[in-house]
């Protein structure tokens, strides 16, 4: 009875989204990070979340897989409410997700190969290791790291770690992939290869994708839809064209990388560098 009710509600939302958020509010103590956000994410589309640093993008994307629980509001996956499930029940749901952490979050006690097979090993019994080796090889070549199977995360560069984490996130061929800043810390060419990879996965497997990024070039390239967060609220929502021509000054400043007048004034007010800071040369004599 209750379930039918929930289904009706989501249907009434007028959006057959794979993922839906309703009136999501998140506080950490007194700090209000997200305020009453509602959002539906469509199947097989790529949604890009942009916004200034610290505006709550990571917090938002973690709610989609319920790594964080809302202070109030609801999260739905395929019409089923998931924000109030117990951890054990959530584990079933999370099998359908891939999540790329902003910091990679590789297991540093395991090597690259073991990291990538971790999700496979947790859910399937491996009978034929040859198949698994081939799978790891193919996932690693997708991110340009074949041959690094035996490296430990400590011996990889920051960008390499990120790419291994990406390979791990797609290891189970999930239905939904959530990427937290996949291209940050990569050189422009690598970043573009990741963009192509995101496009390829969506095109060939119809994967529903949510990407958090600061990188507008990448956003324009991969997005079917771009949403912008600012001070805990959605300020813009639409395709790339819509965002480019958005009237809101905050959006224009963000996509053009311009500093706002307030911020500039604050910087000027802080005085000249030599007045405020001791340099090593001050102690030379």
């Amino acid at each position: 009875m209750k379930n039918a009710d929930q289904n009706k509600q989501t249907a009434e939302g007028g959006d057959n989204g794979v993922l839906r958020i309703k009136n999501l509010t998140k506080r950490f103590g007194a700090h209000l990070v997200l305020e009453s956000i509602s959002l539906g994410i469509e199947k097989g589309k790529t949604t890009v979340v942009i916004g200034p640093s610290g505006c709550g993008k990571t917090v938002l994307i973690k709610h989609l897989i319920v790594l964080l629980r809302p202070s109030s509001g609801e999260v739905y996956f395929k019409g089923r409410r998931i924000d109030n499930l117990r951890e054990q029940e959530l584990n079933e749901v999370r099998m359908h997700y891939g999540f790329l952490f902003q910091g990679g979050a590789l297991f540093d006690s395991l090597n690259v190969f073991e990291n990538i097979i971790f999700p496979i090993r947790q859910h399937f019994r491996i009978n034929d290791w040859k198949v698994v080796e081939d799978l790891v090889k193919s996932k690693l070549s997708m991110v340009g790291l074949d041959g690094f199977q035996n490296y430990y995360p400590a011996n990889l560069s920051g960008g390499q770690r990120k790419r291994v984490a990406l390979a791990r996130a797609i290891a189970l061929n999930p239905e939904v992939i959530l990427y937290d800043e996949p291209t940050t810390g990569l050189d422009p060419i690598r970043a573009d290869i990741i963009n192509e990879l995101v496009l390829k996965l969506r095109r060939e497997l119809g994967i529903t994708t949510v990407v958090v990024t600061h990188d507008m070039k990448s956003a324009y390239k991969i997005a079917d839809r771009i949403i912008m967060l600012h001070r805990g609220r959605l300020v813009a929502d639409g395709d790339a064209e819509h965002i480019r021509n958005h009237p809101h000054p905050v959006v224009q400043q963000f996509i053009n990388g311009q500093v706002s007048d307030e911020d500039l004034a604050a910087l000027r007010m802080s005085g000249t560098v030599s007045q405020t800071q001791f340099m090593p040369r001050d102690f030379a004599k």
Partner: protein
């Protein structure tokens, strides 16, 4: 002043409640994961880290306890011309109290610290969240193997500490203090019962469980940053230490009650 006191009390009760829930969950998960083939390699590797590498340290601890007891107790007993009873005193103390408690404290420092630091670092670098994001229960994957390994190995390590304590006491008593070897063993054997050894070893199960649960809990709830991890390790050690002593007291009371109520049947058992 009263306000801070109240706030502290509430926080304390909150923490205790959280810990109780964590501990309950962990114990349940550990029991359940005994039936899973996937846990065994994890438990074995933890047993290697926790158990095998602790053996030398534990043995040294045990040996010194036995040796020190011999030196300390000799004068008092010699004053009463009872020095041949030295063996009873040393071996009872080692087997019932000092062996288990000191071995557990040693483990709390060696293993507890490492567990907290490892899990704490995994927590602050989001590795625990990564496990959750892949649909695996971090308690099952991380806590259960550690709890099981500690539970199984602490009693074994206590036996090592006991053995070395007994040997250490023997060497000092017989070789250095010149007590007759035959008399030493005879009095020891008549004074130490199997029950005493069992009590000591049983304590190991409780101590091991407490060390693992507290250290894992502190790691899981560790605050951000290098300082957070350091603080969690310190707190884990202090909490483990206190609970070892508290458990030791409680178990002493309980084991005595059990012993007394079964005293009449003792002749049937042995």
């Amino acid at each position: 002043m009263i306000e801070t006191l109240g706030a502290r009390t509430i926080r304390g009760i909150n923490n205790a409640g959280q810990f109780a829930r964590f501990a309950w969950q962990s114990v349940l998960t550990s029991v359940r994961s005994i039936g899973h083939f996937r846990t065994y390699p994890l438990v074995l590797s933890q047993m290697n880290i926790i158990g095998v590498r602790s053996v030398p340290v534990i043995m040294v601890t045990g040996a010194f306890v036995g040796m020190t007891l011999a030196v300390q107790a000799y004068d008092q007993l010699a004053g009463m011309r009872l020095e041949e009873h030295l063996g009873v005193l040393i071996n009872i103390s080692v087997v019932k109290e000092l062996g288990p408690v000191l071995a557990a404290v040693m483990l709390a420092g060696r293993v507890g610290g490492a567990l907290t630091a490892e899990l704490g670092t995994m927590n602050v670098t989001e590795q625990i969240d990564a496990i959750r994001s892949m649909g695996t229960d971090p308690v099952r994957h991380l806590v259960a193997p550690r709890v099981l390994a500690c539970l199984l190995l602490t009693p074994v390590l206590i036996i090592y500490a006991d053995l070395l304590g007994i040997l250490g006491g023997y060497f000092v008593s017989v070789w250095q203090l010149g007590i007759n070897s035959g008399a030493y063993w005879m009095f020891s054997a008549s004074g130490v019962e199997l029950y005493d050894v069992l009590v000591g070893v049983t304590k190991g199960f409780f101590f091991g469980c407490a060390i693992a649960l507290i250290s894992c809990y502190k790691g899981f709830t560790c605050k951000e940053g290098a300082q957070g991890v350091g603080q969690a390790c310190t707190e884990a050690f202090v909490a483990s230490f206190i609970s070892i002593l508290a458990l030791d007291f409680a178990l002493a009371v309980i084991s005595k009650a059990i012993y007394n109520s079964f005293w009449p049947f003792k002749s049937l058992v042995s």
